[in-house]
Symmetry: C2
Subunit: 410 residues, 2 copies
């Protein structure tokens, strides 16, 4: 007898089924993975042991009995960190722990969005944000960026145009500090202009600060949340980029009017307690010394990546050095179809993010790539870029062979 | 200037906002919390240390690079455990780790349900299942239970009635092994009858086995999944009840046709890796000895609870001793309004689950309570039941004062 067929039971609108997992590409420039050498294993061991001795019995109670906003010592650490680093004034009661900042995206979207709504986003953007909005049937209006992040002239025009059509966007989503994928940092003056436009149009700001710890010099402008005077900013962050992505711990700072709805929507009986306990114990003692060390390693890998791109692609690869983070946004010549390049490169063992998946404007991003440099080794970066250049040459005739070709590849 | 007002931006259909967390009740008989003395802290310390030394660097990669189905050693442990305990034949490739069995509920519902659909459930049921279905706009047809779980005569009649109205339910949801809240265990003969009805009507079975490790004698019938020959059963489970609820780790065993959709819907970048690592390391060495010890402690608390109910309520409290688990389903006299009792008891420091929140039939469950006994101490159980009886007497005149009153309460 045949297997039970579920297909007549499936509702409309499901995403395409996943393929079987085939492992990571040999040269992986995708995903927010980090440097294995950057995981502070010894300090994690000590932190796990200390917190289990002290509070392990609490694991018998959902959320350790600290309530649906999450493990209180971690929220206390964050309140202090956000004050010091981002000038955000908040207490542990204003913070809600979530299972990675992706759950924050989901909860905020559930709390604010309905099918047919409109939101404003940066044109080149995090794929996970764009795919979520598409699945929800929400229109994402993309605002172009320059070297200082989202362009305020374009935002003002978009808001005015929507207003003329009687459309009030539900939020303005921005990654102002190390923007994904452009790596730009929005200066404080522009943040203030963004707030002015937000208030003028009654549109809240959704500030995604998940890369903000990773600026090269450790400096960052004050968070938009810190500059807002009327509680119109929802701020989210994560430990994925600054500590370890496989730990699924993010957070939200939001006005209670909104957080109380998000808490009602968060029906998961709490985010993982052990990961919150480990992070609180570890970060309280070591976060301040860990991050600069991690960032030094990331910056060295970025240099290797940019050197490899210059050597292999020459002038065919254009990019601006980001101010921090784990990715580089690269423009190739117009004849390069990034979607096709990504497919061909993957066959050769090199995984890249094609621009059209990271932008509201697939034409603008048609020849662009996002290359993540944190996870591969320096040698893998060099080898992977060499293979990518060779694939690109075979598929699109660029880069042409030239004197700046990396001889180590031969 | 006033605070930003989000209310004009909120979509229809949101749940009521959460109230501020006020801590657990002094005498808490709610929630699936477990016994703090049952957390194997020393073995957790050893397991955390061993797995961090060996694989801690992997935390730099989402999901440790084990793919979206989760940490492979934990799936391997589960495949072997499910074979041995539940006679389920599956491999690690058939198992998907999730963030607690609640995420399994959400993913299965997202994969199968649309507004207006119908599903079949046990009449007295897990509140989280019923509230999820209500929010999705799905009709839950409740089937009465007897001492052997869901009644097959009632199920057959319900299926026939729905068929006559041309309604094909999307699934039959059952907790066959230590049913929540009745504590019943469905015998194998009835499982086979359930499968026969499922196949006759082309309705898959959704088997929630999250309490199945906690039978008093360690014995359990084969899982329905194990008895099915055509892949019509979705099986879920959890470590929350057998190890620790604050660790958010559950799992799904499902045919690939469905699992591939659930994986596409699981856009959380993986469930927490450290909790999966700890559990794999711990369970492989200790699960078999841990569970019987945990269960002995639970059974002793059940005895305390039943003794306290007999002493305080006398014949006013009716219940059948469950075959395992962490809760007791209690019937009080008809004049007791369980919703009102729960409110009054909470003011006196005693939290209970009122029956109407745990049933598709609020009238049937109007005088019923679910009392969880795993978390409070023996003394707290005795004191809490005494207070509950006193509140019930004040509110409803039952239990009447009688010779079996517990003098220690005075």
């Amino acid at each position: 007898m045949a297997l039970f067929d579920f297909s007549p039971l499936l509702p409309a609108g499901l995403p395409a089924p996943a393929a079987r997992w085939n492992g990571l590409a040999k040269y992986s420039f995708v995903g927010g993975n980090n440097d294995p050498d950057g995981v502070p294993v010894e300090d994690f061991r000590a932190a796990a042991d200390a917190v289990l001795v002290r509070e392990g019995r609490g694991l018998a109670t959902y959320g350790l009995g600290h309530g649906p906003q999450g493990y209180r010592p971690l929220r206390a650490f964050l309140a202090e960190k956000l004050r010091r680093d981002a000038a955000i004034s908040c207490s542990a009661d204003d913070i809600m722990m979530v299972s990675g900042s992706l759950q924050a995206l989901d909860l905020i979207n559930q709390a604010l969005l309905a099918r047919g709504d409109t939101v404003i986003v940066e044109r080149d953007n995090y794929q996970g944000t764009l795919t979520r909005l598409a699945r929800l049937g929400v229109e994402a209006v993309g605002i172009p960026l320059d070297q200082h992040g989202m362009r305020m002239d374009a935002l003002a025009a978009a808001l005015a145009g929507l207003k003329a059509r009687s459309i009030r966007p539900k939020y303005i989503y921005t990654i102002p500090t190390v923007q994904n994928p452009t790596g730009t940092v929005m200066p404080e003056s522009r943040r203030l202009e963004l707030l002015r436009l937000s208030e003028q149009h009654g549109v809240p700001i959704f500030e995604d600060d998940c890369y903000a710890d990773l600026t090269w010099d450790g400096q960052r402008p004050r968070a938009i949340h810190a500059l807002a005077e009327h509680g119109s900013v929802i701020h989210i962050g994560s430990f994925s980029k600054s500590v370890a992505p496989a730990l699924r711990v993010g957070f939200v700072v939001a006005p209670w009017q909104l957080m109380s709805i998000m808490l009602a929507l968060k029906t998961d009986a709490g985010s993982g307690a052990l990961e919150q306990m480990l992070l609180a114990e570890y970060c309280t003692a070591h976060f301040d010394s860990h991050v600069p060390e991690l960032v030094r390693g990331l910056r060295a890998k970025l240099e290797t990546l940019m050197d490899a791109l210059n050597a292999e692609f020459g002038t065919a690869a254009e990019f601006a050095a980001p101010h921090g983070g784990i990715f580089l946004w690269v423009k190739l010549p117009d004849q390069v179809d990034a979607m096709r390049l990504a497919q061909a490169a993957l066959k050769a063992g090199v995984a890249i993010n094609p621009g059209p998946e990271w932008s509201t404007d697939p034409v603008h991003a048609g020849s662009r790539l996002r290359l993540c440099f944190a996870s591969p080794s320096h040698q893998e970066i060099r080898d992977g870029v060499a293979i990518l250049a060779e694939v690109c040459r075979q598929e699109f005739g660029v880069p042409i062979r030239s004197a700046n070709m990396d001889k180590t590849r031969l």
